[in-house]
Protein backbone atom coordinates (compact mmCIF):
# COMPACT_ATOMS: atom_id res chain seq x y z
CA UNK A 1 0.00 0.00 0.00
CA UNK A 2 1.16 3.48 -0.76
CA UNK A 3 2.48 5.52 2.16
CA UNK A 4 0.86 8.93 2.54
CA UNK A 5 2.58 12.05 3.82
CA UNK A 6 2.52 12.23 7.61
CA UNK A 7 0.96 15.64 7.71
CA UNK A 8 -0.63 16.84 4.52
CA UNK A 9 -0.93 20.50 5.48
CA UNK A 10 2.71 20.69 6.58
CA UNK A 11 3.75 19.13 3.28
CA UNK A 12 1.72 21.46 1.12
CA UNK A 13 1.67 24.72 3.04
CA UNK A 14 4.20 24.57 5.87
CA UNK A 15 2.92 24.59 9.43
CA UNK A 16 2.34 28.33 9.96
CA UNK A 17 0.94 28.97 6.50
CA UNK A 18 -1.36 25.98 6.89
CA UNK A 19 -2.70 27.34 10.17
CA UNK A 20 -3.19 30.84 8.77
CA UNK A 21 -4.99 29.45 5.74
CA UNK A 22 -7.05 27.10 7.88
CA UNK A 23 -8.25 30.01 9.99
CA UNK A 24 -9.02 32.36 7.10
CA UNK A 25 -10.37 29.72 4.73
CA UNK A 26 -12.21 28.04 7.58
CA UNK A 27 -14.11 31.31 8.07
CA UNK A 28 -14.14 32.84 4.59
CA UNK A 29 -16.82 35.36 5.47
CA UNK A 30 -14.89 36.85 8.38
CA UNK A 31 -12.08 39.37 8.45
CA UNK A 32 -9.14 39.01 10.83
CA UNK A 33 -6.47 41.44 11.97
CA UNK A 34 -2.93 40.24 12.47
CA UNK A 35 -2.93 40.00 16.27
CA UNK A 36 -6.17 38.08 16.12
CA UNK A 37 -4.63 35.51 13.77
CA UNK A 38 -1.50 35.39 15.91
CA UNK A 39 -3.49 34.66 19.08
CA UNK A 40 -5.68 32.12 17.37
CA UNK A 41 -2.89 29.99 15.95
CA UNK A 42 -0.34 30.60 18.70
CA UNK A 43 2.39 32.05 16.47
CA UNK A 44 4.27 35.33 16.75
CA UNK A 45 2.85 38.48 15.18
CA UNK A 46 5.93 38.90 12.97
CA UNK A 47 5.66 35.37 11.53
CA UNK A 48 1.94 35.75 10.90
CA UNK A 49 2.50 39.13 9.23
CA UNK A 50 5.09 37.64 6.84
CA UNK A 51 2.71 34.82 5.90
CA UNK A 52 -0.22 37.17 5.34
CA UNK A 53 1.88 39.46 3.14
CA UNK A 54 2.96 36.47 1.04
CA UNK A 55 -0.61 35.17 0.75
CA UNK A 56 -1.79 38.67 -0.19
CA UNK A 57 0.91 38.99 -2.89
CA UNK A 58 -0.34 35.73 -4.42
CA UNK A 59 -3.96 36.86 -4.18
CA UNK A 60 -5.06 34.09 -1.85
CA UNK A 61 -6.19 36.63 0.74
CA UNK A 62 -7.56 40.14 0.38
CA UNK A 63 -6.92 43.04 2.73
CA UNK A 64 -8.91 46.03 3.81
CA UNK A 65 -8.10 48.98 6.04
CA UNK A 66 -10.42 50.42 8.64
CA UNK A 67 -8.99 53.24 10.73
CA UNK A 68 -5.53 52.10 11.75
CA UNK A 69 -6.37 48.40 11.52
CA UNK A 70 -5.55 46.16 8.53
CA UNK A 71 -7.90 43.22 8.05
CA UNK A 72 -7.32 40.05 6.06
CA UNK A 73 -9.86 37.70 4.58
CA UNK A 74 -9.89 34.62 2.32
CA UNK A 75 -10.23 35.66 -1.31
CA UNK A 76 -13.37 33.98 -2.61
CA UNK A 77 -12.71 35.45 -6.06
CA UNK A 78 -9.41 33.61 -6.49
CA UNK A 79 -9.59 30.90 -9.18
CA UNK A 80 -8.40 28.20 -6.74
CA UNK A 81 -10.56 29.28 -3.81
CA UNK A 82 -12.95 26.34 -4.03
CA UNK A 83 -10.19 23.76 -4.32
CA UNK A 84 -8.02 25.33 -1.63
CA UNK A 85 -10.96 25.69 0.72
CA UNK A 86 -11.82 22.03 0.31
CA UNK A 87 -8.18 20.97 0.69
CA UNK A 88 -7.78 22.90 3.93
CA UNK A 89 -11.09 21.58 5.29
CA UNK A 90 -9.78 18.07 4.71
CA UNK A 91 -6.57 18.74 6.63
CA UNK A 92 -6.31 21.35 9.38
CA UNK A 93 -9.65 23.00 8.66
CA UNK A 94 -11.41 20.10 10.31
CA UNK A 95 -10.75 21.56 13.74
CA UNK A 96 -12.43 24.81 12.85
CA UNK A 97 -15.37 22.97 11.36
CA UNK A 98 -15.78 20.84 14.44
CA UNK A 99 -15.46 23.83 16.78
CA UNK A 100 -18.12 25.71 14.84
CA UNK A 101 -20.45 22.70 14.73
CA UNK A 102 -20.19 22.18 18.48
CA UNK A 103 -20.48 25.88 19.36
CA UNK A 104 -24.27 25.74 19.90
CA UNK A 105 -23.71 23.02 22.53
CA UNK A 106 -20.67 24.72 24.10
CA UNK A 107 -22.49 26.02 27.19
CA UNK A 108 -23.28 22.42 28.15
CA UNK A 109 -19.80 21.10 27.40
CA UNK A 110 -16.92 20.95 29.84
CA UNK A 111 -14.50 19.91 27.11
CA UNK A 112 -14.52 18.79 23.52
CA UNK A 113 -11.27 17.75 21.93
CA UNK A 114 -9.85 15.75 19.05
CA UNK A 115 -7.38 13.01 19.92
CA UNK A 116 -5.70 10.21 18.00
CA UNK A 117 -4.12 10.48 14.57
CA UNK A 118 -5.80 13.74 13.57
CA UNK A 119 -4.55 15.43 16.74
CA UNK A 120 -1.08 13.96 16.23
CA UNK A 121 -1.18 15.21 12.65
CA UNK A 122 -0.23 11.79 11.32
CA UNK A 123 -3.61 10.97 9.84
CA UNK A 124 -3.80 8.80 6.75
CA UNK A 125 -6.22 9.12 3.88
CA UNK A 126 -8.74 6.83 5.56
CA UNK A 127 -8.29 8.03 9.15
CA UNK A 128 -11.37 8.86 11.18
CA UNK A 129 -11.61 11.81 13.53
CA UNK A 130 -11.65 10.71 17.19
CA UNK A 131 -13.66 13.22 19.17
CA UNK A 132 -14.02 13.31 22.96
CA UNK A 133 -17.06 15.11 24.31
CA UNK A 134 -17.35 15.77 28.03
CA UNK A 135 -20.56 17.42 29.16
CA UNK A 136 -24.28 17.22 29.46
CA UNK A 137 -25.33 16.43 25.88
CA UNK A 138 -26.87 13.42 24.18
CA UNK A 139 -25.42 11.33 21.37
CA UNK A 140 -28.34 12.37 19.14
CA UNK A 141 -27.55 16.06 19.67
CA UNK A 142 -23.88 15.52 18.90
CA UNK A 143 -24.48 13.39 15.82
CA UNK A 144 -26.91 15.98 14.46
CA UNK A 145 -24.18 18.62 14.71
CA UNK A 146 -21.50 16.40 13.23
CA UNK A 147 -23.34 15.16 10.14
CA UNK A 148 -22.53 18.23 8.04
CA UNK A 149 -18.90 18.23 9.23
CA UNK A 150 -18.48 14.60 8.18
CA UNK A 151 -19.77 15.47 4.73
CA UNK A 152 -17.53 18.54 4.46
CA UNK A 153 -14.31 16.84 5.53
CA UNK A 154 -14.95 13.48 3.91
CA UNK A 155 -13.96 11.60 7.09
CA UNK A 156 -15.97 9.66 9.64
CA UNK A 157 -16.13 11.23 13.10
CA UNK A 158 -16.16 8.91 16.12
CA UNK A 159 -17.51 10.72 19.15
CA UNK A 160 -17.10 9.37 22.68
CA UNK A 161 -19.40 10.99 25.24
CA UNK A 162 -18.94 11.28 28.97
CA UNK A 163 -20.60 13.41 31.57
CA UNK A 164 -18.07 15.47 33.53
CA UNK A 165 -18.76 13.31 36.55
CA UNK A 166 -18.17 10.02 34.77
CA UNK A 167 -15.07 11.38 33.04
CA UNK A 168 -13.57 12.36 36.40
CA UNK A 169 -14.64 9.15 38.15
CA UNK A 170 -13.22 6.92 35.44
CA UNK A 171 -9.94 8.77 35.42
CA UNK A 172 -9.69 8.49 39.18
CA UNK A 173 -10.30 4.76 38.94
CA UNK A 174 -7.40 4.46 36.48
CA UNK A 175 -9.31 3.92 33.23
CA UNK A 176 -6.56 3.00 30.75
CA UNK A 177 -8.31 4.37 27.69
CA UNK A 178 -8.93 7.83 29.15
CA UNK A 179 -5.48 8.03 30.69
CA UNK A 180 -3.79 7.25 27.38
CA UNK A 181 -6.03 9.74 25.57
CA UNK A 182 -5.05 12.46 28.04
CA UNK A 183 -1.36 11.60 27.78
CA UNK A 184 -1.48 11.82 23.98
CA UNK A 185 -1.78 14.79 21.65
CA UNK A 186 -5.06 16.66 21.78
CA UNK A 187 -6.62 19.57 19.95
CA UNK A 188 -9.01 21.34 22.27
CA UNK A 189 -12.17 22.64 20.61
CA UNK A 190 -14.18 23.65 23.67
CA UNK A 191 -13.20 24.15 27.31
CA UNK A 192 -10.41 25.26 29.57
CA UNK A 193 -7.02 23.78 28.60
CA UNK A 194 -5.56 24.29 32.08
CA UNK A 195 -8.41 22.43 33.76
CA UNK A 196 -8.07 19.61 31.25
CA UNK A 197 -4.33 19.50 31.90
CA UNK A 198 -5.02 18.99 35.61
CA UNK A 199 -7.14 15.92 34.82
CA UNK A 200 -4.18 14.10 33.27
Amino acid sequence: MRAYAKSMDDLIFGQTRGRVLALLYGHPDRTFYIRQVSRHIGTSVGTVQRELVTLYRFGLVIRSVSGRQVYYQANRAHPVFVELHSLIAKTVGVFHLLGSALAPLANRLTWAFVYGSMARRDEKAGSDVDLMIVGDVTLDEVLAKLASVERAIGRAINPTLYTANEFRTRLESGNHFLRSVLRGEKVLLVGDPDELGKMG
Binding site: D140, N158, T160, L161, H176, F177, L178
Partner: protein, 148 residues
Protein backbone atom coordinates in the same frame (compact mmCIF):
# COMPACT_ATOMS: atom_id res chain seq x y z
CA UNK B 1 -28.97 2.22 -5.22
CA UNK B 2 -30.62 -1.01 -4.07
CA UNK B 3 -29.78 -4.53 -2.91
CA UNK B 4 -29.55 -5.84 -6.49
CA UNK B 5 -26.87 -3.23 -7.24
CA UNK B 6 -24.95 -4.20 -4.11
CA UNK B 7 -25.03 -7.81 -5.30
CA UNK B 8 -23.66 -6.68 -8.68
CA UNK B 9 -20.82 -4.90 -6.85
CA UNK B 10 -20.01 -8.14 -5.04
CA UNK B 11 -21.00 -6.88 -1.57
CA UNK B 12 -24.01 -9.22 -1.31
CA UNK B 13 -24.90 -12.70 -2.50
CA UNK B 14 -28.43 -13.82 -3.34
CA UNK B 15 -29.39 -16.73 -1.09
CA UNK B 16 -32.88 -17.76 0.00
CA UNK B 17 -33.63 -17.93 3.70
CA UNK B 18 -36.01 -20.06 5.76
CA UNK B 19 -38.33 -19.57 8.77
CA UNK B 20 -35.80 -21.52 10.86
CA UNK B 21 -32.92 -19.20 9.93
CA UNK B 22 -34.97 -16.09 10.74
CA UNK B 23 -36.08 -17.60 14.07
CA UNK B 24 -32.45 -18.46 14.87
CA UNK B 25 -31.32 -14.90 14.08
CA UNK B 26 -34.08 -13.38 16.20
CA UNK B 27 -33.00 -15.78 18.96
CA UNK B 28 -29.47 -14.36 18.78
CA UNK B 29 -30.90 -10.83 18.97
CA UNK B 30 -32.84 -11.71 22.15
CA UNK B 31 -29.88 -13.48 23.73
CA UNK B 32 -27.52 -10.58 23.05
CA UNK B 33 -30.01 -8.01 24.31
CA UNK B 34 -30.40 -10.02 27.53
CA UNK B 35 -26.60 -10.22 27.87
CA UNK B 36 -26.30 -6.48 27.27
CA UNK B 37 -28.45 -5.91 30.37
CA UNK B 38 -26.27 -7.97 32.68
CA UNK B 39 -24.80 -5.36 34.99
CA UNK B 40 -22.22 -7.77 36.44
CA UNK B 41 -20.02 -7.69 33.31
CA UNK B 42 -18.04 -4.78 31.87
CA UNK B 43 -19.66 -1.94 29.93
CA UNK B 44 -17.46 -2.92 26.98
CA UNK B 45 -18.84 -6.48 26.80
CA UNK B 46 -22.38 -5.25 27.30
CA UNK B 47 -21.89 -2.73 24.50
CA UNK B 48 -20.53 -5.46 22.20
CA UNK B 49 -23.58 -7.58 22.96
CA UNK B 50 -25.96 -4.67 22.29
CA UNK B 51 -24.24 -3.84 19.02
CA UNK B 52 -24.29 -7.50 17.98
CA UNK B 53 -28.03 -7.60 18.70
CA UNK B 54 -28.60 -4.57 16.46
CA UNK B 55 -26.39 -5.94 13.68
CA UNK B 56 -28.10 -9.34 13.80
CA UNK B 57 -31.52 -7.68 13.64
CA UNK B 58 -30.34 -5.84 10.52
CA UNK B 59 -29.07 -9.15 9.15
CA UNK B 60 -32.47 -10.79 9.75
CA UNK B 61 -34.06 -8.10 7.57
CA UNK B 62 -31.39 -8.59 4.89
CA UNK B 63 -31.84 -12.39 4.92
CA UNK B 64 -35.61 -11.96 4.65
CA UNK B 65 -34.97 -10.00 1.44
CA UNK B 66 -33.02 -12.99 0.10
CA UNK B 67 -29.47 -11.68 0.44
CA UNK B 68 -26.47 -12.18 2.68
CA UNK B 69 -23.27 -10.17 2.90
CA UNK B 70 -20.13 -11.53 1.28
CA UNK B 71 -17.44 -12.02 3.91
CA UNK B 72 -14.87 -9.32 3.30
CA UNK B 73 -13.50 -6.22 5.03
CA UNK B 74 -16.41 -4.04 6.15
CA UNK B 75 -19.17 -6.62 5.75
CA UNK B 76 -20.57 -5.82 9.22
CA UNK B 77 -20.91 -2.21 8.13
CA UNK B 78 -22.64 -3.30 4.95
CA UNK B 79 -25.17 -5.27 7.01
CA UNK B 80 -26.00 -2.11 8.93
CA UNK B 81 -26.13 0.09 5.85
CA UNK B 82 -28.45 -2.41 4.12
CA UNK B 83 -31.18 -1.21 6.51
CA UNK B 84 -31.63 1.72 4.15
CA UNK B 85 -32.87 -0.67 1.45
CA UNK B 86 -34.47 -3.46 3.47
CA UNK B 87 -36.56 -1.39 5.87
CA UNK B 88 -36.05 2.14 4.53
CA UNK B 89 -34.40 2.98 7.86
CA UNK B 90 -33.78 6.57 8.86
CA UNK B 91 -30.30 7.84 7.93
CA UNK B 92 -29.79 9.04 11.54
CA UNK B 93 -30.27 5.49 12.82
CA UNK B 94 -27.73 4.19 10.31
CA UNK B 95 -25.28 6.96 11.24
CA UNK B 96 -25.62 6.04 14.92
CA UNK B 97 -25.09 2.35 14.18
CA UNK B 98 -21.97 3.24 12.15
CA UNK B 99 -20.59 5.08 15.18
CA UNK B 100 -21.42 2.06 17.37
CA UNK B 101 -19.71 -0.23 14.87
CA UNK B 102 -16.47 1.78 15.08
CA UNK B 103 -16.69 1.81 18.84
CA UNK B 104 -17.34 -1.91 18.95
CA UNK B 105 -14.19 -2.48 16.84
CA UNK B 106 -12.17 -0.13 19.04
CA UNK B 107 -13.32 -1.79 22.24
CA UNK B 108 -12.71 -5.29 20.86
CA UNK B 109 -9.30 -4.69 19.31
CA UNK B 110 -7.75 -1.41 20.47
CA UNK B 111 -8.52 -0.35 24.00
CA UNK B 112 -10.60 -1.43 27.01
CA UNK B 113 -12.84 0.96 28.87
CA UNK B 114 -13.84 3.31 26.07
CA UNK B 115 -17.61 2.87 26.38
CA UNK B 116 -19.40 5.43 28.53
CA UNK B 117 -22.61 4.83 30.47
CA UNK B 118 -24.61 6.95 28.05
CA UNK B 119 -23.23 5.09 25.03
CA UNK B 120 -24.09 1.73 26.57
CA UNK B 121 -27.63 2.83 27.43
CA UNK B 122 -28.08 4.27 23.95
CA UNK B 123 -26.78 1.10 22.27
CA UNK B 124 -29.24 -1.04 24.26
CA UNK B 125 -32.08 1.35 23.45
CA UNK B 126 -31.25 1.34 19.73
CA UNK B 127 -30.89 -2.47 19.63
CA UNK B 128 -34.19 -2.99 21.44
CA UNK B 129 -35.92 -0.52 19.13
CA UNK B 130 -34.47 -2.22 16.07
CA UNK B 131 -35.52 -5.65 17.34
CA UNK B 132 -39.11 -4.47 17.68
CA UNK B 133 -39.11 -2.69 14.31
CA UNK B 134 -37.58 -5.65 12.45
CA UNK B 135 -39.99 -8.10 14.09
CA UNK B 136 -43.01 -5.96 13.17
CA UNK B 137 -41.66 -5.50 9.63
CA UNK B 138 -41.12 -9.27 9.22
CA UNK B 139 -44.67 -9.99 10.41
CA UNK B 140 -46.07 -7.47 7.97
CA UNK B 141 -43.93 -8.04 4.89
CA UNK B 142 -42.69 -11.64 5.27
CA UNK B 143 -45.31 -13.45 7.41
CA UNK B 144 -44.33 -16.77 5.82
CA UNK B 145 -40.89 -16.47 7.48
CA UNK B 146 -42.39 -16.02 10.93
CA UNK B 147 -44.15 -19.37 11.06
CA UNK B 148 -41.40 -21.55 12.46
Amino acid sequence: MNLEKWAEYGWLRAEPTSPKEIADLLGIVSRDLNDARVAAISEDRRFEAAFNAARTAANAALRACGYCTVTQVGHHLKTIESLEFTMRADSRLIQKLRVFSKKRNATSYDSAGNVSNQELEEAIKVAEGLRQTVTAWLLETHPELMKS
